[in-house]
Symmetry: C2
Subunit: 134 residues, 2 copies
């Protein structure tokens, strides 16, 4: 949608490391078998570049248009995961997303399960998807 190349790095189990970013979308998930949470965190430069490519102009900072876009991306990523997992017999419902902005914030999923960290890199900055199911 944003005509950008973003390179996925090797997914891994998140242990002590802490992903830092400037704007994050978070969403809760509830199913019969399990519950959990997902986050997608962007560095500011990457979030602004995505906005520029989608809207044709670059916002001056992490304004409400950017957080709306991050909320939408959060819904899309979780919706994709929901569909794939449902085909494999794991059904869950999504809560509504929450978007956090703040320079260099960190996120901790308080969930009794492994946290999968999927890093992405690009020339404009990094992004991280984290997902945890109990």
């Amino acid at each position: 949608m944003a005509s950008m190349e973003i390179k996925p790095l090797k997914p891994r189990i998140k242990k002590d490391e802490i992903a830092r970013g400037d704007v994050s979308g978070l969403i809760g998930m509830v199913g019969n078998q399990t519950r959990g949470s997902m986050s997608i965190t962007f560095e500011e430069g990457l979030a602004l570049e995505i906005m520029q490519n989608m809207l044709g102009e670059k916002p001056h900072g992490l304004n409400e248009e950017v957080t709306d876009m991050v909320g939408e991306i959060t819904n899309m990523v979780t919706g994709g995961a929901k569909r794939i997992l449902a085909e494999n017999g794991f059904d869950f419902d999504m809560a509504t997303p929450v978007v956090v902005s703040g320079k260099g914030h960190t996120i901790r999923h308080k969930c009794d399960g492994a946290i999968i960290l999927m890093p992405f890199t690009s020339e404009w900055g990094n992004a991280f998807i984290e997902i945890c199911f109990e």
Copy 2:
């Protein structure tokens, strides 16, 4: 639990104003009739004072003990709301909480419904509960 006096201010519908804080617990909620999200945001001074009163010593910053406590408070507050709403015929399930830390971050609930903002004040700093159901 923390033997502290925290003064609730008048709850209101959040419009353009943005609550700022240093550590927040966020949780998603999913029910048959509705879904939504809740957040509780603390200024650092208040979060550290709660830790001191509960553990007997004050941490040097927003470490993992503090974020664990904020995650627990998030579960407790949402659990209380869940019980009261269930008695009134509104059932929902809670996802797992996510805790964000970062100086002066802001939170936006991306939910098609009014956002109720409940401010609290104390001599150590402020806290805000925000809740939104679709």
